[in-house]
């Protein structure tokens, strides 16, 4: 084969034709990544081929397997960056809205205050890292890495639309919820490892929180899956598009899930494990510098995932009702906007409500949310038996 022009190298083949294509259906971020690699790799291959005509390296750079590999690397960066920017925007939203509820303006540095988040990131990046002598170094580092890592992983695994996803399994929802529920265990171990009384209490409280909200939340997820008949996130969203968003028949479940999701993300009415000045940041007391900065970011990741779960399970995901095929244009943006709308409600709740006590959260979880979620389940079952869904 003779290559003369650059267009022989950069020709954007159909992504589904690649035998190593790792998805079942069309995937937009992979498509973007493969086209980017076509441009980068194709240009490099063309340049090398100009110098050394007919060399094997140029051929290798544009063969199916190499394209797939580098496309996956760019794919992970694209997915990560989109989620990261989404989380930064929710952080900015929280600062602005919380500021307004307190009758002040919130952050003001650059781009309506958005650059404050970036500046804070750089500041924590350059902070000195202090580590007390008495900590158990192994668990101290591992647990915090895993809290941040799993939070980021589930934030990346949330599909933004039926073409923007990382995995599309029939167990997708279970996978995400399983990873989502892991953090309290790491927090418990981390609180012990720091050898600090505040951290110990914080870790214990994280475990206590989990045993109070986890059951109602799982029952509510089972209810939503009962209605949709699948654990596949795309399937749940499609089922809502075919009938109606689930917050209408499951209004009790929607409110309960909202509060439980608030607790799962450890946001203010339920931030017992952290409890700002009450416990000196609770389980985060001994983490300094960049570690603390990333823990803060992980909090917002969990907030983002909670809001995304509410959007998927109750608000119809990436579809809007009554607009038909217009949904095919920017479902990703619709999904993110809905997520930020739910996050807005969470901020209002944070601004309005005081922190609950430890015994109150247990009583709330077992004596209020549990019966409510069971009632919701029974209502859905009656609707299902009556043939409404």
């Amino acid at each position: 084969m003779v290559y003369s022009s650059i267009l022989d190298w950069v020709n954007f083949p159909d992504i589904m034709a690649n035998p190593y294509y790792p998805f079942e259906t069309y995937n937009l971020p992979y498509d973007i990544s493969q086209k980017l690699w076509e441009i980068i790799g194709g240009t490099i291959a063309w340049l090398i081929n100009l110098l050394f005509p007919g060399n094997p390296v140029s051929e290798w750079l544009v063969c199916d397997m190499t394209v797939n590999f580098f496309a996956l690397i760019i794919f992970m960066i694209v997915v990560f960056l989109v989620v990261f920017i989404g989380i930064l925007i929710s952080l900015w939203e929280e600062r602005k809205v919380l500021g307004r509820t307190m009758d002040r303006r919130g952050t003001m540095v650059g781009m309506k205050g958005f650059l404050q988040c970036v500046a804070d990131g750089f500041k924590t990046f350059m902070k000195e890292d202090t580590q007390p002598r008495k900590v158990d170094r192994m668990t101290y580092m591992w647990t915090v890495s895993l809290v941040i890592g799993t939070s980021m992983l589930i934030a990346c695994m949330i599909p933004l639309s039926d073409r923007w996803y990382v995995v599309n399994y029939n167990t997708g929802l279970l996978l995400i919820m399983g990873l989502f529920a892991l953090a309290p265990f790491f927090i418990l171990v981390s609180g012990w490892s720091q050898n600090n009384k505040y951290s110990l209490i914080g870790g214990m409280r994280a475990a206590e929180m989990m045993i109070s909200y986890e059951i109602p939340m799982l029952i509510l997820i089972a209810t939503a899956c009962l209605m949709a008949g699948t654990f596949n996130i795309g399937g749940i969203v499609q089922a809502q598009y075919d009938t109606m968003p689930y917050f209408i028949p499951q209004c009790i479940g929607f409110v309960t899930f909202f509060v439980c999701a608030n607790a799962e993300a450890e946001r203010t009415p339920f931030d017992l494990a952290e409890a700002e000045s009450e416990l000196v940041e609770g389980w985060q007391t001994e983490y300094a510098g960049m570690k603390w900065g990333l823990i803060m970011l992980a909090d917002y990741m969990r907030g983002y995932v909670s809001c995304a779960m509410i959007t998927i399970l109750y608000l119809g995901g990436w579809n809007l009702p009554f607009i038909g095929d217009l949904n095919n244009y920017v479902p990703e943006l619709v999904f993110l906007l809905k997520t930020w709308l739910v996050f807005f409600a969470m901020i209002i709740v944070r601004a309005a409500l005081p922190r609950v006590r430890t015994d109150q959260i247990l009583n709330l979880g077992w004596k209020v949310f549990m019966p409510l979620s069971i009632i919701n389940l029974v209502i859905v079952l009656l609707l299902k038996m009556g043939g409404v869904f």
Binding site: Y20, Y21, P22, E24, L72, I73, F75, M76, F80, F125, M126, E128, D129, T130, Q131, P132, K134, V144, S145, L146, I148, G149, T150, M152, L153, C156, M157, V166, V167, W192, Q194, N195, N196, K197, Y198, S199, M204, E208, I211, S212, E214, I215, L218, I219, A222, C225, L226, G229, F231, E286, G289, M290, L294, T358, D359, L362, W366, K367, I374, K384
Partner: protein, 120 residues
């Protein structure tokens, strides 16, 4: 497309999401100052010298709730499986599921009533 190949994107995303925090700490090591003092290596206790060790025997005040939680977590696992398979099950399966759930809810209600006097 094999099953292993379908997990490849998850592996790649897992690498970046689990790896970015350690990578950030590693990179910031070259930028941040490092001047440890005696006070910085001390465990933080609001300015006073910490008394004793924090690895003490700790009273789990919510022990009863934790026990109920362990039981109910299993129930919810059954509930999840039942909910997703509902379409293919006979009406009798629903009756059994709710009998099972009802017995456990009665148990929880009884234990909560009994534990009410315990201070949390």
């Amino acid at each position: 497309m094999s099953l292993i190949a379908s997990y490849l994107p998850l592996v790649f995303v897992g690498i970046i999401s689990l790896g970015f925090a350690p990578a950030a700490w590693l990179v910031s090591r070259f930028i941040r100052p490092y001047k440890p003092t005696k006070w910085m290596e001390e465990t933080y206790e609001c300015g006073s010298v910490p008394i004793g060790d924090a690895r003490v025997q700790f009273r789990l005040q919510y022990y009863a709730y934790a026990l109920i939680f362990v039981v109910f977590d299993l129930v919810v696992t059954f509930l999840l499986i039942w909910s997703v398979a509902y379409g293919g099950l006979s009406p009798m399966a629903t009756v059994w599921m709710f009998l099972f759930l009802g017995i456990l809810i009665l148990g929880v209600a009884y234990s909560l009533k009994k534990e009410e006097t315990i201070w949390i």
